[in-house]
Amino acid sequence: MIQRHFSIALVGLILGLLLVLQFRTANQQEPAVPGDRAHELTVELKALTTERAGLESVARDLEGKLARARLGYVQAEETIKAQIREAAVLAGMTRVAGPGVRVIITSRTGATPPGAIFAVRDEDLLKLVNELRAAEAEALSINGQRLISTSAIRLAGSHINVNLQRITPPYEILAIGDPIALRNSLEIKGGLVETMRDWGMDVTIETQNRIVIPPFKRPLVYDYTEPVAEASH
């Protein structure tokens, strides 16, 4: 009797386990959402490929420089100067030119619905600049102030400061990059510019073949930061 109960229990246990396993396997198919993942991975793969190509060219360039620098003092000096020239462009310390967009923002006088609340604020400019960065702008300026990694855009009293310099309306943002992509990033339906226009701001966006953006005008000061010498293991 006990034996019979036992075997029934055993069969029940095995059946149960199998069922659970079966369900779990069947469920595994659900969350895979394969199309989506494959898409995401492909995007990542593409990004990695470009990154790799970029790094390869950097490595080749550095090899060339290293070989030259080892020839002697004069060559070493030349190499540093070449490095300075290249880094200066990336650091925003040189005047640059290229295609891009010119964006003009003004608060519409009079027609502004509830007054000063909807005047142009620092965060509006901050967000516009962020959109342009997302569209891969390579150089940016607001009213002649070049934007670098540490440029703050901030309301101070009733004015907006950029790089600690007071700027006054109309605000002019210049961006160098793919003009169409830059313009589209701002004019997307339901996007930032549409909202700003609803708030009574005038925003005009012009694509241009040649935009000139000035260098960052103050010296770069690092009182707290030091470069870390990379260990060459």
């Binding site: 198919q29 895979a32 490929t49 620098a69 462009v89 650091a91 390579e138």
Partner: protein
């Protein structure tokens, strides 16, 4: 049942979409490894070049190069500063409330960064992604894109500069952090650090459109 189980398992293994994902995953992993190796190689070459140009007469030039390379994110840096950690709200939502208002947005990170800049931050990073002149911060679904890399909460913002200044700028009454905490319940912790390390920008930078300015004839 065992037969069904077996077939189901084989189906999963052999279904084209899954195979495709597995294949892509392997490729991505290989590409990542190669990328990391190249990054290391570039770092080594930079160190060697640094050593090859260490003559004393070149020091003034190298000081200048250092400054430019810090701003351009070419070299990793260290220094004192603050670490700010932002976490989504744990406020229990009332039915009908918009949960979107209680998670961290790109805007919040932008504003914290901006505030740190006002307080004199010299170098900034979000989850160890170096912030450069062209760095964007954007919401994509539940994650945030910085330097086109997907980051997920909690967000760790690091800034090198005067720790006291940076901290007090954030803690100002009615300031950014106040707003985030009081209105949206976003959890913010600020810690002063004696020593922070911020890595170099991880991609390669090259301008496609911007060229050094030349006078037009």
């Amino acid at each position: 049942m065992i037969a069904v189980q077996f077939r189901l398992y084989r189906d999963i293994q052999e279904s084209v979409p899954v195979q495709r994902v597995q294949r892509l995953m392997a490729e991505v992993q290989a590409a990542r490894k190669e990328r990391d190796q190249l990054q290391e190689r570039v770092a080594t070459l930079r160190a060697e070049l640094d050593a090859a140009t260490a003559q004393t007469g070149l020091q003034p030039l190298k000081k200048r190069l250092d400054r430019y390379q810090i701003e351009a994110g070419i070299v990793p840096v260290r220094g004192p500063g603050v670490e700010v950690i932002l976490e989504d709200s744990n406020v229990a939502l009332q039915p009908g409330q918009n949960p979107n208002l209680y998670v961290i947005h790109d805007e919040d990170i932008l504003r914290v960064l901006n505030e740190l800049r006002v307080a004199g931050a010299e170098v900034l990073a979000v989850n160890n992604e170096r912030v450069l002149a062209g760095t964007e911060v954007r919401c994509i679904g539940p994650s945030i894109l910085v330097n086109t890399k997907r980051l997920a909460a909690p967000f760790r913002i690091t800034a090198i500069g005067d720790p006291d200044n940076l901290e007090s700028a954030l803690k100002m009454r009615g300031g950014v952090v106040d707003t985030l905490q009081q209105f949206w319940g976003i959890r913010v912790s600020i810690k002063k650090m004696d020593q922070l390390t911020i890595p170099a920008f991880k991609g390669s930078q090259e301008f496609t459109y911007a060229r050094p300015y030349l006078e037009e004839k």
